[in-house]
């Protein structure tokens, strides 16, 4: 009697592989949102009563008015002029505190823009090490 020989392939069937991988690709493409995952870090100083608070007289005060006008130590200037103004001051005292005081009605974008300018100073040879952005509560509590 002649037995019918069943031929068994010894290879993994790969015909459906492309379909499966395509499905996976579509899944990852749809669920993946290239969400914004980058930004500026903003270290919050420890709220420690023992550390002496920044004296306003020794520091540079950058006020941001509603509408985006910038005033540095009472002089109005553009954002790109700030580093120039700070350079000689920071050369004398590298840890000179720079305080950013945005007006409550100024936009968040303007505050971030100024903060970005100060942080970027490091790449332009004017490293601003001591940037303070006190909140309104702190200002009320300690300065007045």
């Amino acid at each position: 009697m002649k037995l019918e020989k069943k031929s068994v392939s010894d290879e993994i069937p790969t015909a459906s592989m492309a379909d499966i991988t395509f499905l996976l690709i579509i899944f990852f493409m749809v669920t993946n949102t290239f969400s914004a995952t980058r930004g500026l870090d903003f270290a919050i100083p420890k709220e420690d009563k023992s550390t002496p608070l920044v004296e306003r007289e020794e520091s540079v005060l950058i006020s941001i008015h509603a509408g985006g006008a910038i005033e540095v130590d009472g002089r109005s200037m553009r954002a790109d002029q700030i580093l120039e103004y700070l350079k000689p001051k920071l050369e004398r005292n590298a840890t000179k505190p720079v305080i950013i005081r945005p007006d409550p009605d100024a936009s968040y974008g303007d505050m971030v823009k100024v903060y970005d300018v100060l942080r970027e100073g490091k790449n332009k040879g004017v490293e601003v090490r001591n940037i303070n952005i006190p909140t309104q509560r702190e200002v009320d509590q300690f300065w007045y």
């Binding site: 690709i25 990852f28 914004a36 930004g39 009605d105 968040y108 823009k113 909140t135």
Partner: protein, 127 residues
């Protein structure tokens, strides 16, 4: 063909991250941008002042006031004192509101906050 498809899959797997906060905001533009740590808690503020919080793993939930942000942050820090926070605020939000949120985070003793931003373009992006 399969090779290319595999490469694409690997690319998507590596860049895969589930967005926990789907709030649409116009982020501020900055020149400097650093990678924000994964699984950081998120606080978002839209230009209409609506705030949402997320622990970085589950979807964000709306909160009514800054007080809620404070209690949320304290809760987060109770489980992980080193928890990073990401502030995702619209660039047109009045600073007053951002100030209150940062103050709430300070009171909760958050150590690091990241201000989410977009890349500043050379021509200033119309701003």
């Amino acid at each position: 063909m399969a090779d290319i498809v595999f490469l694409l899959i690997i690319f998507f797997v590596l860049t895969f991250n589930v967005e926990v906060d789907k709030t649409m905001v116009d982020l501020p533009r900055t020149n400097l941008r650093f990678e924000v740590p994964k699984k950081a808690a998120t606080v978002s503020i839209t230009d209409s002042g609506q705030m949402r919080v997320s622990d970085g793993e589950s979807a964000s939930t709306p909160v009514a006031s800054v007080q809620d942000v404070l209690s949320f942050a304290s809760e987060m820090l109770a489980t992980d004192p080193e928890k990073d926070f990401v502030l995702k605020a619209d660039r047109n939000v009045p600073y007053r509101e951002v100030d209150q949120v940062i103050d709430a985070l300070k009171q909760a003793k958050v150590t690091a906050v990241y201000l989410l931003s977009e890349q500043e373009t050379v021509e200033g992006g119309g701003q």
